[in-house]
């Protein structure tokens, strides 16, 4: 499980392991159905070792990861802020980007629209590069087809960002800086 996403789910307030899982499930809907719980706890253990979260065992409860209360440390908070600001679209990881928006809005960390705008700028630059390359190829060159594929993918990504923008614009008010 993506470390940034797990951390961000704790940005609003500390949570029990099972609550954290529920937050991820809620944010991801059916996409999160195949989520591996064990993996989340592996990630949490790593984050704890890295000093990004604390894991408090509640008195009187069994020593199980889902019963612990996880909270961000100051370093964890900073990591979340970095993750939100980071622009990455190497592979089309829609879920991670979606979780950024959800986490940013829920914890009041950043305006989802700003995150969308940053992402759009990056995608437009990539589109420009791919298109330049595509236009430079003769129409019947095999590479033109690959480049056309990249251009179409980027267009689809940009269209999705438009939908994100519309959705999050309608929900403004939830974000209070």
């Amino acid at each position: 499980m993506q470390q940034g996403a797990v951390l961000a789910m704790l940005a609003k307030e500390p949570a029990h392991g099972y609550q954290l899982r529920a937050r991820l499930r809620e944010a991801l809907g059916p996409v999160g159905e195949d989520m591996n719980d064990g993996q989340i706890y592996v990630t949490l253990t790593r984050l704890e070792k890295a000093g990004l979260v604390t894991a408090e065992q509640e008195p009187g409860l069994a020593d199980r990861p889902d019963r612990k209360v996880y909270a961000l440390t100051a370093a964890g908070q900073r990591r979340v802020a970095d993750w939100l600001a980071e622009v990455s679209w190497p592979k089309p990881d829609l879920a991670e980007f979606h979780l950024k928006l959800v986490a940013a809005a829920a914890a009041g960390l950043a305006d989802p629209i700003t995150i969308i705008d940053t992402q759009r700028r990056e995608l437009l630059r990539r589109l420009r590069d791919a298109q330049r390359a595509a236009l430079a190829e003769p129409d019947d060159a095999p590479a033109a087809l690959l480049l056309e594929g990249m251009v179409l993918r980027l267009q689809a990504d940009l269209r999705w960002l438009e939908a994100c923008e519309q959705q999050w614009t309608n929900q403004t008010g939830k974000y209070e800086p």
Partner: protein, 249 residues
């Protein structure tokens, strides 16, 4: 590759506004837009339907009067011009390209292109020479005598672009130039806009299509009548193509 002359502003607006209706039903279609377009620059304006981008283009082109603010084009403030002065400015300084081409069906390609020059009082011979030269430039020299109905969508839009260039305008304004085209025809028009851009033509494109927008130096994002974000595309690239789809690392 950049032909932008940052010292010279061709088109400038200040506090530009356009409102429709009144009181409770007041719609601010364009709400305080400040824009500066340098000579040789291509600017794309994007945004969701209804964000005011087409209204803005109509104001810039003097096809519609603003409710407030200023538009300076080629040294003239549009609001201070009479209808006649405005018509003259449109004819001499602005080229229009529309989504639906707006060609005259009963005129051939070359007749469509030369028409504005004839209306501007050029001699038929000079107008014809200019029109043929422009058709050659858009790659349609061999289609000069074809009627629009005999041309493909991409070819029709290229004729429309040739017509827009006939007066050698200070700026070409394009409203969704690829909006009616399939992907092969879109590529024809993209190539043409890219060529115009390289040749130093000043262009303002209003569009929904990121592909045509990506030919610009600068993309402005518009929402609710105002500019909210800007992406600079000219100059350095952001990464290698291979990294797009994990072909490397």
């Amino acid at each position: 590759m950049s032909n932008i002359d940052t010292m010279t502003t061709v088109l400038r607006t200040q506090g530009l506004r356009k409102e429709y209706g009144r009181e409770a039903s007041l719609v601010r279609a364009v709400d305080g837009v400040d824009l500066e377009v340098a000579r040789g620059e291509t600017v794309a304006i994007m945004g969701p339907s209804g964000c005011g981008k087409s209204t803005l283009l109509y104001l810039l082109g003097g096809l519609d009067r603003s409710s407030g603010g200023e538009i300076w084009l080629d040294g003239q403030e549009l609001g201070r011009l009479s209808e006649r002065g405005l018509a003259r400015l449109r004819r001499d300084a602005i080229g229009f390209v529309f989504q639906a081409f707006h060609l005259m069906d009963e005129l051939t390609a070359v007749e469509n292109v030369e028409l504005p020059a004839l209306l501007a009082g050029r001699s038929p011979r000079a107008a014809r020479r200019r029109a043929l030269g422009l058709l050659d430039r858009v790659g349609l020299a061999d289609r000069a005598r074809f009627l629009p109905a005999q041309l493909s969508g991409g070819q029709r839009q290229r004729v429309a672009v040739a017509r827009a260039l006939v007066a050698d305008p200070a700026v070409v304004l394009a409203d969704e130039p690829t909006g009616n085209l399939d992907s092969a025809a879109t590529r024809e028009v993209l190539r043409l806009f890219d060529q115009l851009h390289q040749a130093g033509q000043t262009l303002v494109i209003v569009t929904h299509d990121p592909r045509i927008a990506a030919t610009a130096d600068r993309i402005i994002n518009m929402r609710d009548g105002t500019f909210v974000d800007q992406t600079m595309l000219q100059g350095g690239t952001s990464g290698r193509l291979g990294s797009l789809y994990a072909l490397e690392g």
